[in-house]
Symmetry: C2
Subunit: 473 residues, 2 copies
């Protein structure tokens, strides 16, 4: 990172920690330059960065002041989900989201796409290119149904970071995390079975439950700590729940990291009631703090946790390479994987294995974590500035998604229709709930918040929200 | 094709048609050279080719004679399947087959891998390579859940060859034909439902039925004309069958093409009993005769046929790109596709679309059809020569698979164990039956029968078969 960005981040952190208070005057350019041993122009650049982020404002002849506006907006409310298993709906809305190919003239605020236009990914593309030129049986043929052994080895090593101790043999490569989750559900549950889920929750799982004829029991979920363990315990007592499915580290869409104590307590509950845990860790490696949070799987002693993940958020979604460590359900999952898609594509598996083996994965992650942490600041600032007062905003601890809650009664589907003319699309909140709740919420993607057009786009969304609220008032 | 191969094929055809009879002397080299206006050495090469194929033998100073041995071996018997729905078994044997990555030192007699080391595929590899170098949102990101529109257009055009009239909008791209079949089954059937299948039948479908808790009703199947329509009609009267799943054109493993009249009659039956047809057409484009056979889908008027296919046999399996034209079940199939794997990989879709658009698909197919037709002759010849008398052999009309039937009681699993030491593996017949029938059969792959090691390999298999039979006698 350049000097001025470093400095800007430090100042931003102090503002967030309350060391500089709203309305307070910030140190002069000269003072900072001496304190930090950097040039005057570096400090000026840093201040302009703070200004861009909505954290500080210059006043003529008196220097920079901490913005009044700049407070962390309030958090979304703890979700209050229906307290009974429901059949999943919302397919039409999901379809609308996923049936449009990402077009270069529509800003990707809606879909879960990371920034893939970064220098640290280039070597991966070179591998792909080189491997596809080579015309060998290995790349173009059927591989093993479990996946390429070299990749399974690398994945086993990567999961050490989340505290796991897995061997290559414990891992099955899948067609994205979608297939991992879908195989996990089918390995454990039958049609009619009840699965407890966090809420809001990834729409792919909701739709899989729908497709398999399973029922979702949405659990109240705190925007900072995740599902309510009390509610889960009650639910386990009341219903014949077969599995708990959740994304505890850098949750999609809320961004929280479930505290380690909660993860342990959750596992203990699962043991007591003898249910399986399907842990989605797809964003886990993108936690802003290093070392990354531990997975529930890392505490698992009797193989009841099925860890699902993919390279879709950390590298690129188009690779369609994910994995699952299914614990004691390995044989069932392998069968489900075979019947679902047969073997996985060899070429991307080999290229990714090479990328990791060459030591390029961690440096890439470091870059992305920083970029997304900055993105969160920017996006939060813009939403604070451009959305109507009272808008609530999540505080993600990783990943590149912001959850934004408008007052009850607001209709995010109407918002999307209104935005279509401006070539903008957000993810409507209702697709993150089995019962179609959260219609007053939206999810925004800030992976590419450095793009010049982004601020104007968020401003436009905010203004449209304000308009819609005014029309309804 | 070179001159000598042309000539060899013509001579082989005459032998097959009985114009030259077993034991008869073939025309002299000089005569043929004059008749066909080719050089003496071309005729000599052609004769050596016939010799290699086991069709003719030279006798010193008297020229070439049609082999006595060279008769079409007897066909396998019409399968007599259990006359009631059964739960599928055989997962362990399938797993053994698919959990080994194809190793360069094991001859691929067992798996369904086409020859991918051919010049006509090179441009596809160049496209893949070029597209992966280009670092654009389109290749590395999520596409549309239905698949890339450019590929769907090309697929729609390709299906004209089998008599279909489909639009891009009728087609959903999938992760191989596996996903097409699996999505089709789930779109139509519930656990416990009965699906009628041809028998022997592709093990992927058998295993999908198993995984979904559906039951298979195996239909008696003629090695030249496919499933018995009489048996199907009886079954439809007797059981609440939900769908008929079959591979009517260039069947795997038997290779037959169901006559057009039978296809129409089958559709009429499906209409009368109001059941869906899941038609697997994965080998259809590899019929030895051009134009290729019509699909059942091409006669479908009320959208009850779900046409499933992929590029795994015509181009390369590692691409993992297939498709489905689900007729009236489009919405359900789309939902199943989304929940199973989300979006399909963009890169191979774009490369394949380019390959077809550039007019390279048909010339490639022409090459492969010829190669596989020759392969069939070679393989049939070798099996006739090296397997014990009484061995029955299929007469495939397309594709690259030969079905070989030994006497009842022969154990193909034992054969595989015996062959392992020689780094050979065949596909045991039992995996092609829900009930584990056909243990006395094996399936051989002749896609690469031009490889120098192939004849020796088949000889070794044949000798091992003979040994095993002798041991049991
Ligand atoms: C929480 C979560 N799980 C799973 C997925 C699906 O991932 P993949 O693209 O690897 O199938 C996503 C992507 O949107 C996600 O956000
Ligand atoms: C008849 C048949 N259907 C489907 C498949 C699966 O094809 P894919 O590799 O495209 O998933 C095969 C391949 O073995 C097959 O032989």
């Amino acid at each position: 990172m350049t000097l001025y960005l470093n400095l800007a981040e430090e100042l931003a952190a102090r503002i967030e920690q309350g060391l500089f208070r709203p309305g307070e005057r910030l140190p002069s350019v000269r003072t900072l330059s001496q304190e930090h041993g950097v040039s005057l122009s570096t400090v000026q650049q840093a201040y302009r960065q703070l200004e861009d982020q909505g954290l500080a404002t210059p006043r003529p002849k008196s220097g920079y002041f901490v913005n009044q506006l700049r407070q962390q907006p309030e958090l979304p409310q703890i979700s209050r989900a229906p307290q009974r298993p429901v059949e999943v709906s919302q397919w039409e809305q999901v379809l609308e989201l996923v049936s449009e190919p990402p077009s270069s003239d529509v800003l990707q605020l809606s879909r879960g796409i990371p920034d893939i236009d970064v220098p640290t990914l280039k070597p991966l593309l070179r591998s792909l290119s080189r491997l596809s030129r080579r015309q060998s049986l290995r790349e173009l043929s059927y591989g093993a149904v479990e996946g390429e052994i070299s990749l399974r080895q690398e994945v086993a090593r990567l999961t050490l970071d989340s505290g796991c101790q897995l061997a290559a043999e414990d891992i099955v490569i899948t067609t994205g995390c979608h297939e991992a989750l879908s195989a996990a559900l089918r390995a454990i549950c039958q049609p009619g079975d009840i699965v407890a889920v966090d809420s809001p929750s990834f729409h792919g799982v909701m739709q899989a439950l729908k497709g398999f004829g399973m029922k979702a029991l949405e659990l109240p979920t705190d925007p900072l700590t995740g599902i309510s363990l009390e509610a889960l315990e009650m639910a386990l007592e009341q219903w014949p729940i077969k599995a708990i499915q959740l994304t505890p580290s850098c949750n999609n869409p809320l961004g929280y990291v479930m505290p380690e104590a909660n993860k342990r307590a959750l596992l203990a509950l699962a043991q007591r009631f003898d249910v399986a845990i399907i842990e989605d860790d797809i964003y886990g490696d993108l936690a802003y703090h290093y070392p990354r949070p531990r997975s529930i799987k890392s505490f698992d002693e009797d193989g009841r946790v099925l860890l699902c993940s993919s390279f879709s958020k950390t590298l690129a979604p188009g690779l369609r390479i994910g994995w699952i460590a299914p614990g004691r359900y390995l044989q069932q999952v392998l069968h489900m994987k075979y019947m679902g898609t047969g073997m996985s594509a060899q070429l991307p598996q080999l290229a990714i294995a090479e990328f990791i083996r060459d030591g390029l994965y961690q440096p890439h992650l470091r870059q992305m974590r920083k970029q997304y942490a900055r993105g969160r600041e920017q996006m939060t600032g813009w939403v604070s500035r451009y959305f109507p007062p009272g808008t609530r905003v999540s505080q993600p601890q990783g990943g590149f998604m912001l959850w934004v809650e408008m007052p009850q009664g607001f209709d995010s589907l109407r918002l999307n229709r209104r935005l279509a003319a401006s070539k903008l699309q957000v993810a409507p909140g209702s697709i993150f709930s089995a019962a179609g709740k959260y219609r007053n919420c939206i999810r925004l993607n800030f992976a590419c918040s450095h793009q010049p057009s982004m601020e104007a786009a968020i401003r436009q969304v905010g203004e449209t929200v304000t308009q819609l609220l005014a029309e309804d008032a």
